[in-house]
């Protein structure tokens, strides 16, 4: 199965019931398979007139309390940034898949990891961040759909699956579980028709400065809690390593092979793979730095995640 199909199957298994998308390579299989599987699951599939329309449709569906998703590739994800900022401001859960390609601008359709900053630092305007997960296999494309929806619902904040053209396009065998455990909290804030209760009101506009400040403090408190509770990472041969490679997504796969080759030559190399890019596994990296490890950050960009690694290490290695 292709990574792009796996994320669709994972999303539907995680009770995603609304998908709005617009074509762009290398994520085309996502809307393609959504159009195949979503109607059978009783959900809504709609090809929007643009990326901007798609993210605003997600805004609407998320307001109604439905698990809603959109997907795109780098230039298209840039177009979604305004909508994502509004969704974060309105504190709504949703999932966006970015099958990254080369940039800036239209770039090309080859794999890249140059949207790291856009994904983990917010991307749109205002003090918000996306809960970002980085799959490194077709199997994780499936699993991270449920993870991203659970994180989004738990924190009422948009989540991003930061994939890339390799992970999205490659074929790998995966085992589809009969049932996927999901954690969908009650959504008393959802605009589901105000019969028998007071009205719910969803907005990202808070004209009174004190109101907006209170909302922003609430949002920051959520991020602080996510940093305490949701950090996920994976380590390979780190214990005795002199040097630890730090990589995510497709590059982490390549680094694992590199590590194995280096180990055969007697070099003590380890691999540290962040699974959540926000919240970033800073504490663990800091602890490894205190143990005297040195780090080599490898990524398919001119150097973006390396800034978070440097902040975590903070001069200790």
């Amino acid at each position: 199965m292709k990574g792009n199909e796996a994320v669709v199957r994972g999303a539907i298994a995680a009770q995603c019931r609304a998908f709005f998308g617009y074509p762009i390579t290398p994520q085309n299989e996502v809307p393609e398979y959504m159009s195949k599987y979503m109607p059978a699951a009783g959900g809504v599939f709609l090809q929007a007139e643009s990326e901007v329309a798609a993210i605003n449709m997600v805004y609407g569906a998320a307001s109604a309390g439905i698990r809603a998703m959109t997907s795109s590739s780098s230039p298209g994800v840039s177009l979604k940034m305004e909508g994502l900022s509004y969704i974060a401001g309105a504190q709504l859960p949703c999932v966006v898949v970015n099958v990254q390609r080369g940039g800036p601008g239209l770039g090309n359709i080859a794999p890249a990891q140059a949207d790291y900053f856009q994904a983990v630092k917010g991307g749109g305007h205002g003090d918000y961040k996306l809960l970002t997960v980085a799959p490194w296999s077709v199997r994780e494309m499936f699993e991270h759909a449920a993870l991203a929806f659970d994180l989004a619902d738990r924190y009422r904040n948009p989540a991003m699956i930061l994939s890339d053209a390799i992970i999205g396009q490659m074929l790998e065998p995966i085992e589809i579980p009969d049932k996927v455990e999901v954690d969908i909290p009650p959504k008393p804030w959802a605009t589901t028709g105000a019969k028998g209760r007071g009205r719910n009101f969803i907005t990202s506009l808070y004209i009174v400065p004190e109101d907006l400040e209170r909302i922003n403090l609430d949002i920051q408190a959520k991020y602080a809690e996510a940093c305490r509770r949701e950090v996920r990472f994976q380590e390979f041969e780190v214990e005795d390593a002199d040097m630890v490679l730090v990589a995510y997504g497709c590059v982490a796969r390549i680094c694992r092979t590199t590590m194995n080759l280096a180990r055969r030559k007697g070099l003590r190399i380890g691999l540290f793979r962040p699974i959540t890019l926000f919240p970033f596994p800073s504490e663990r990296l800091a602890a490894l730095a205190r143990d005297g490890k040195r780090f080599l950050t490898v990524e398919l960009s001119a150097g973006q995640m390396v800034e978070d690694v440097r902040l975590a290490v903070n001069g200790a290695a």
């Binding site: 199965m1 074929l171 790998e172 065998p173 085992e175």
Partner: protein, 67 residues
């Protein structure tokens, strides 16, 4: 008991699945597929355990396993 479904048109007849199946449940077909290769086919002896070795080894991800 497991069984497998081979997507014949993806198969290039490399025979890796035949060699790796621990229960000899896969054989090469006499027929041709649309690419002109002899595809492999499931030979249901009732021995298939659904171990997934064939699917993991297949370089073209052409095999689905049902347990």
């Amino acid at each position: 008991m497991g069984h497998i479904v081979i997507r014949e048109d993806r198969c290039k007849g490399c025979e890796i699945c035949v060699r790796f199946c621990p229960k000899q449940c896969i054989v090469m077909s006499d027929r041709f597929n649309s690419k002109g290769h002899h595809p492999s086919e499931f030979h249901d002896t009732g021995e298939c355990t659904g171990c997934t070795v064939c699917a993991v080894m297949c370089p073209d991800v052409a095999i689905e396993v049902y347990k």
